[in-house]
Symmetry: none
Subunit: 220 residues, 4 copies
DNA sequence: AATGAATGAGTTTTCATTCAT
DNA sequence: TATGAATGAAAACTCATTCAT
């Protein structure tokens, strides 16, 4: 696997300490970024919020943008972890997809503000850091891509080969949409309702004809 | 209909002049916001870009955020106008939806950077201005909602009444997704391919059973 | 003549105002740099000392180093002007040299702290600005070079052609030395004494044999 | 002789260790100060360059300025040592002067950057440390003063008693000038040429009339 | 109406020094 | 003795906004 993360230099040597302090920094920063956004949050506020002196904080990062990068990386890591949990090779691809899409909706619901944060602040990263973050986003999307491909093989999902990438992105976007359109959607749907309707929409298309939900490709 | 736009006070009285100058401001600002984002653009740069002195610019706005609001309003107005153009009451709802979804994809493709701008910078507006912008977004979504409702009535579209809002939002998001995921999608699809695949996905679900594409609901 | 000065961009347009404000800045900065040196003087102190707000000061410069450059340029301009005053083409070269060396000593004496400032802070300039300043120093040295060359032609001074540059530099350094070694020299000599002794040293070598001081190259 | 050096307190007791560590510090610091100057060099950089941890370094100094003092002292010590080497009581004063002036030029040539360093950074020392450094500079100058005085006694040099101090300073300055005006001089002279011309200038004045170069006061 | 010089609070970042281990 | 993480005061510079002309 290729290296997918940027190494932020630190003045401090002790790797364990670096990890711990950066965790502190991220946790403080996330809270503030959600409230006020990246630009309206000052470095001093971040330091205060995470219980470090400004000087100490700067021993673990180089610029304010590094904090944003750490935050994005953290969110993506959380997201990826949650999504991978629900995928098991012992399930059929269709089963796997069902679980993981359901899981996606739940996760987005819970990480709502974090998802919005990623959507809105990624562009504030310097070019090189941004590309790492986008790469990560793609990697996460690939989780669904892989399930779809598996479904093509085991015959439990029907997708046009050329639409696999697109479907994976659709799933991601429809999931995340609950976060960034919540302001409108939550007036009419709660997360269960939302999940149910969107899942049926997604699976309508994906389930092979004559193969009704819950059946194992039956008596054809 | 309720008033859906915020009135930004101006020192200048001549309404025609106000409109003209603000147009200048918006055009300059849009260019810069796309390049560097709202926060990294200075008011001086905006003034320069739109050919006004900083003092003059401030005769037509009150704060930098007003410029962002004007920009958002402008983008939404453009978008709405483009989307309304393709809707005609003489078409069947299904026909209408087809045209307008196609049109949505084209428009998003052309206004790509503007769509992304709205997605990323809306949150920088002060609360009250933001709500105007979100309202506008909802109004635009309602274009599709109305077509869907019309389709329920004229029988050319099949949607569950409770899913109408959701479908309208889905359409909007799948359209805009071409803008904010272009970095990933354009490696595999061009806009035609994207449009074709996404439309078939959307309509699969919406077209009444036994009523294949191109037919007018008939019984044959 | 080649351009020998760096143009520092200013946000302000009015050239007259720029000149006036920069004069203010230089005057304030010189006082502080002499007292505490460039590095230990803060931009806020400079602004305060010259009666401008920090924001206003920065409308006329780009960086703190620009202030140093302006100061160096100012000092050199003062120095050059003073030195050129004493040179007249109607005098013999020897006469001219005598006057201008005397004048150099007087000037260095009066501008003592400024001379020391140049010696000590030039190296704090960024490379490109430094080269302008060194160029200026060379130009000033050329004043003496020219007189020496004239002396070779009119026969009132005897120098080896290849030593002309060197002698010019020697004169400059022996002049400036009164500034940067004053801490030691002034315990034993006052400026008159210093001038008298150093001049006789310089001229001993330069006066053609048999041509005693005060004579006009006359007969014999 | 009076004590001419400042004692910098150290937490460490072992004098041998102190000397050794300070030597390390000076060597590292000199390299950096030459490159970037005193103010632009950080204590961390110094520590790194000399292979000590920042904490350890501070066991041997009290402030950053102490490092500068140590550096100045080191340079002066080097300089003084080199200059004293060439002086022998068995030579005539004139011979001695010749050797030591020649030696001065060579030394300045080799220690060029160090000489410039002293010239430019001495002023950054706190008052009390600076006076030690200036004292040292004077002591070195006294080397030449003594030779001149000896020349007055043994008749091999002709100087006005009141000019002795001045001549000694002149010699020093003309020597050091090769370092701090190298940027201009080296375009026209190399060190040999420079030495030859400056020596003849210095000695012209100093050699008793009728006593040509190389002669021992001959026939009188 | 238009101009653009003036303002200063606020921002990020640095770095000499300390001190617990 | 040696280490290096912690500290926070202080620095340079920016920029939205105002207001006299």
């Amino acid at each position: 696997m290729k290296q997918n993360s940027h190494i932020i230099p630190s003045v401090v040597k002790d790797q364990r300490l670096i990890a711990q302090r950066r965790q502190q920094i991220v946790e403080g920063a996330v809270r503030l970024f959600i409230q006020k956004g990246f630009h309206k949050t000052t470095t001093r506020e971040i330091a205060k919020e995470c219980g470090l002196s400004i000087g100490t904080m700067y021993e673990y990062i180089q610029t304010k943008e590094d904090v944003l990068y750490l935050v994005c990386e953290y969110i993506h890591t959380q997201l990826e972890q949650r999504l991978r949990e629900s995928v098991s090779d012992s399930d059929s691809a269709r089963e796997s997809l069902k679980k993981s899409v359901k899981n996606l909706f739940d996760t987005v619901n819970e990480m709502s503000s974090l998802i919005v944060l990623i959507y809105q602040e990624t562009k504030s990263l310097p070019k090189d850091l941004m590309s790492y973050v986008l790469q990560k986003e793609e990697e996460i999307t690939r989780i669904f891509e892989k399930i779809l491909l598996r479904g093509m093989e085991d015959g439990t999902l029907s997708v046009d080969a050329d639409s696999v990438k697109l479907m994976a992105h659709n799933i991601m976007v429809i999931g995340q949409m609950w976060a960034f359109r919540r302001w409108a959607l939550s007036r009419y749907y709660d997360i269960e309702e939302y999940t149910k309707r969107q899942m049926s929409l997604i699976f309508e298309k994906l389930i092979p004809r004559g193969d009704e939900d819950g059946n194992r490709s039956a008596s054809s």
